[in-house]
């Protein structure tokens, strides 16, 4: 006969769950609306989603830093709040991209928006916990929603992408669970802070087994963060997904993954498990370099951007490997800067998306498509060039400041060789970003129809692109305040 468990509501501290509950309730609300009245316009759902995300953001701001709740599985520290802000802001910026002038049928389903909100809630769970099981639940919720969203694009290639992503994701989930199991076996706990305590108290006795666990974790997170050699799904999935989702995937799941990686590897790196640091170092260098080299030979802009985002992820993983406060702040600064630029770049692709493939029998956005764009759509070409230059790290555009800060963090922790590798990689990456600029500015147009570059354009899309172009150009003004907020939050959580 079990003792009845009595739990007081105060000890649950449900406030810590509020943001995720808002998103989930919002998603359910959208489903209920659909139940009551069919065939409402997508504009309604987009705006509702944004409003729900706004409330969600409000709930995030309402949280007290340092709180734990819900049987202590929720952990609201600085980086949890910070990354939730980034996730929500990015989601708010990406969801209006659904408001195209052409009809894409996935956006006419309210389920799309409900799934979107569930996915956001999943990511929020991932970052706001240090319990391996809850992180897993968040990860899987978000991923399952994301697979479905990709498949909803309803083309052969999207199904392929969704299946590929699903299979790879399932494999990663398996690795994750194995890793968590080994941690549990070693320490009797699934709470990261307790795992760290027990391991430290035992002076890292069972090193071999621990290393096996860490390897599983690296593999699992490597899949999610598309580190080489676990990156193979990325370009195909990006290609198959709509440009909106591809852009979203390149930013939001990654930041959630980074936070988890920071939590898991953080204490291992701080302690004397040198091996972890070395493996990460190698992974970072390989990811940056190989992805860059593979991006050089792509024929499609979207695939190029996929490889480039792998390389950027490698760049940022370096910050986790370095592990100082400055490095962890640099990670967030980099990713916020990356968010603006990548949002713009993918939105530009999205605007020029055609229903049928005119230029190439396989690719939607081959380089040839942008040939001579400056003569047809000068403003569009200049804006696209801005995003490319920013991604390449040409100052004073946004990503330069992120790169500067990450490289500075590397130099300050005596990783001068790493900083040089980063510099060389930036130089390599310039080549493929320039390739698009060369096509747009230096080649002659293949056709004279101006509308090809703005098939899907609409006021909201133009606003989003204009906003990201503005942020890309004037990022220098935003760096100081952003940096200040980031550093406060990162320091508050002891990273």
């Amino acid at each position: 006969m079990l003792e009845p468990i009595s739990v007081s509501m105060e000890s649950l501290n449900l406030g810590t769950l509020a943001p995720m509950l808002v998103a989930i309730a919002g998603g359910l609300g959208i489903l209920i609306i659909d139940l009551i009245k069919k065939d409402l316009d997508k504009t309604l759902y987009v705006m509702l989603s944004i409003l729900i995300l706004v409330v969600d953001l409000g709930a995030v701001f309402g949280q007290r830093i340092g709180d734990r709740g819900f049987f202590d599985v929720m952990l609201i520290d600085g980086i949890a709040v910070l990354s939730q802000i980034v996730i929500l802001a990015a989601s708010m910026l990406f969801i209006p991209l659904a408001l195209t002038s052409r009809r894409f049928h996935e956006f006419s389903y309210p389920e799309f928006f409900a799934l979107f909100l569930f996915m956001v809630a999943g990511f929020q769970f991932m970052v706001a916990s240090d319990n391996l099981i809850l992180i897993f639940v968040g990860l899987e919720t978000a991923s399952l929603a994301l697979y479905t969203l990709i498949a909803l694009h309803n083309r052969e290639r999207s199904f392929e992408a969704a299946i590929k992503y699903f299979v790879m994701g399932a494999l990663a989930a398996g690795f994750y669970v194995m890793g968590a199991m080994i941690f549990y076996a070693l320490t009797g706990s699934v709470e990261l802070y307790k795992i760290a305590e027990v391991l430290k108290a035992g002076d890292f006795a069972n090193m071999t087994i621990l290393l096996v666990g860490v390897s599983f974790m690296i593999a699992a997170l490597g899949f999610k963060l598309s580190m080489v050699p676990f990156h193979t799904w990325t370009p195909d999935v990006y290609e198959g997904a709509s440009a909106t989702l591809a852009g979203y995937m390149s930013v939001v799941p990654k930041i959630a993954g980074f936070v988890v990686a920071m939590r898991i590897f953080g204490f291992l790196i701080q302690s004397d498990v040198v091996w972890v640091r070395d493996v990460l170092y190698a992974a970072v260098v390989i990811t940056m370099t190989l992805a860059n080299i593979m991006a050089l030979v792509q024929h499609d802009v979207k695939r190029m951007l996929a490889f480039s985002s792998i390389s950027h992820a490698g760049f940022v993983m370096a910050a986790i490997m370095i592990g100082t406060t400055q490095a962890n702040s640099a990670l967030f600064l980099y990713w916020i800067m990356f968010l603006f630029t990548n949002l713009g770049a993918f939105a530009m692709l999205w605007v020029s998306r055609h229903k049928d493939k005119v230029w190439h029998d396989r690719f939607d956005h081959p380089y040839e498509k942008f040939s001579g764009m400056i003569q047809i759509k000068p403003v569009g070409a200049v804006i696209m060039a801005l995003f490319m230059l920013s991604l390449a790290g040409v100052p004073p555009f946004s990503l330069f400041w992120g790169k500067l800060y990450v490289m500075s963090a590397a130099v300050n922790s005596d990783y001068i060789v790493l900083a040089l590798i980063m510099a060389i990689n930036s130089a390599i990456s310039v080549y493929y970003y320039l390739k698009l600029i060369v096509y747009m500015f230096l080649k002659d147009p293949t056709q004279n129809e101006g509308t090809i570059y703005e098939q899907n354009t609409s006021k909201p899309l133009q606003t989003i692109i204009g906003f990201s172009a503005f942020m890309t150009v004037f990022a220098v003004v935003a760096v100081e305040p952003i940096l200040e907020i980031i550093t406060t939050y990162v320091q508050a959580s002891g990273f």
Binding site: I374, Q375, P378, L389, V394, P395, P396, F400, W401, L404, Y405, M407, S408, V411, N412, I416, A419, L420, A423, I424, S426, A427, V430, Y431, L434, I437, V438, F441, L442, K443, V476, V477, V479, E480, L483, E484, T487
Partner: protein, 508 residues
């Protein structure tokens, strides 16, 4: 006017943005007026500049990222003042002679943006702001070469971009290390170049940092063996691109040498004199020989440019006031002379669409005015006394003579070799009979070409005869720079090599 430097930097950029609105037919007049206003502003800067004060004037500081020590920090001294004036002057002259027809509007807007970055590089005193303008200058140039150039233009444009970009990233790492060391020493973040100057580093740090900065700057100069991008860039670029590239963009590298590694790492600079001088000598002699072997007029001038840049680097590494003043002055004169030469080649290219010397001959009969100006400029390029180049070349070599006699004599061959290839170029194309039918009816210079070229001739001769108004402010700043380096140097050899006092003062 306290903010004249900011105005100088951002006026062309704002004008460039507004230029999108101006109609295609009037864009030329618009570009000319903007360039003229900018040039007048820079003249104003010159006249309100106090030539007897060696330090930075018109200083502006505005915090950008204060927690990371990045400030918008501008200022000019005697060294940078005239290069700023040179940039605005060359842009104006180039704009007058501009003969591009295709996409003229895009060309003018790119030129205006390029002008912003050029002025920005020379007036920024914060390393990051310097770096921003330095990198940004690549973008309009990429477009100018790539969109209006010859057959291999895209290859040339990308090569130009990649070389400089890769080099400057190494320099960026150097800057970050420097900022870190500054932070270690003082506990404050700072990217201010003047603050960095005050930091005394141990010699082995200096050498590594020197190398990092040197790679970035040397690619831009371009030093041997990183020079291979330049002949392509010049060969493919349109006239205006070559003019600005040779006259101003290359000077960023040599200006950077004077501004960054020399005062920051005096000991390492002295330690490196020998290797750098060897590289410069190779540059001077080897590229002069290569220039002689060229068949294309523009390539001759492109290689002669590299050869002359070698003399500038050599003068800079003389580490005494004559040498550095001379090299700064040579930057100006090389800017004017090579700019004029590229413009002259552009003139003939516009008429005949070829630059091969074998296609010409006897041009002096057909185009007497053109022949005259070309003659003067060829002489100036060779370093004839009473032209601007003579002053610069002489002072640079005189400065380096105090460091090494043999090397200076070797470098002096640049004048002889220069005479060989420039005069043979002149002989092949201008003297003799008119051999080709097409050349018999070539038009002589038209109004705008004459105007642009005669202005350049005037400046060349004026500053060749009476260089004092320019030389003196340069010298004031350079002397204080050298005595600063002398004071700052920690090794004995460096103290000996860096000679702050000029000889006449020792006699007093």
């Amino acid at each position: 006017m306290d903010h004249i430097l900011s105005v100088l930097v951002f006026f062309p950029a704002i004008a460039g943005l507004l230029g999108f609105v101006v109609s295609k037919e009037s864009i030329r007049a618009y570009g000319l007026s903007v360039a003229a206003i900018e040039f007048l502003l820079s003249l104003w800067l010159w006249f309100s500049f106090d030539g007897s004060y060696p330090g930075f004037q018109f200083v502006e500081v505005l915090p950008l990222i204060p927690s990371f020590g990045i400030n918008y920090y501008l200022g000019v001294d005697g060294i940078s003042l005239f290069i700023v004036v040179l940039s605005t002057f060359i842009t104006l002259v180039g704009m007058i002679a501009l003969s591009v027809e295709k996409d003229l509007k895009n060309m003018i807007i790119s030129l205006l943006f390029l002008e912003m970055t050029m002025v920005g590089v020379f007036v920024s005193l914060d390393a990051i702001v310097f770096y921003v303008f330095w990198e940004l200058s690549l973008v309009p140039m990429l477009y100018i070469i790539g969109a209006w150039g010859g057959n291999l233009r895209i290859y040339a444009a990308i090569k130009f971009f990649l070389y400089t970009f890769a080099g400057s990233l190494i320099m960026l790492v150097g800057m970050l290390v420097m900022a870190y060391l500054y932070h270690e020493a003082t506990g404050v973040w700072s990217f201010s170049i003047t603050e960095w100057h005050r930091l005394i580093l141990p010699e082995n740090y200096q050498i590594w940092l020197f190398i990092a900065f040197f790679i970035g700057l040397a690619i831009k100069v371009p030093m041997f063996p990183f020079h291979t991008w330049l002949p392509y860039a010049h060969g493919q670029a349109p006239t205006i691109g070559s003019v600005i590239l040779a006259a101003v963009l290359l000077k960023m590298g040599t200006y950077g040498l004077v501004r960054l590694p020399l005062p920051m790492f005096p000991d390492a600079s002295v330690y490196m004199i020998f290797p750098v001088a060897i590289l410069s000598l190779i540059m001077i002699i080897y590229t002069a020989m290569v220039a002689y072997a060229q068949e294309d007029m523009k390539q001759v001038i492109a290689y002669s440019s590299i050869s002359h840049m070698g003399v500038i680097v050599l003068g800079t590494f003389a580490m005494n006031p004559e040498g550095i003043t001379g090299s700064v002055f040579f930057m100006l004169s090389h800017g004017i002379v090579s700019g004029a030469l590229f413009m002259l080649v552009g003139v003939i290219y516009d008429r005949r669409h070829t630059k091969l010397m074998s296609e010409f001959g006897g041009l002096a009969h057909v185009m007497p005015r053109y022949g005259t100006i070309m003659g003067i400029m060829v002489m100036a390029s060779v370093g004839l006394p009473l032209t601007m180049s003579f002053v610069g070349e002489f002072l640079s070599l005189a400065g380096f003579y105090q460091v090494s006699h043999t090397m200076t004599i070797l470098a002096g061959t640049s004048i002889i070799l220069g005479a060989v290839y420039m005069l043979s170029l002149y002989k092949k194309s201008f003297f003799g009979e008119v051999t080709k039918e097409e050349n018999k009816n070539l038009k002589d210079l038209d109004g705008k070409e004459s105007m642009a070229l005669w202005t350049l001739v005037l400046v060349t001769v004026w500053l060749g005869v009476y260089p004092k108004p320019v030389l003196e402010p340069i010298n004031t700043s350079v002397e204080s720079l050298v005595s600063f380096m002398h004071k700052k140097a920690i090794t004995k050899e460096a103290k000996e090599v860096i000679k702050p006092k000029v000889i006449e003062r020792e006699a007093e």
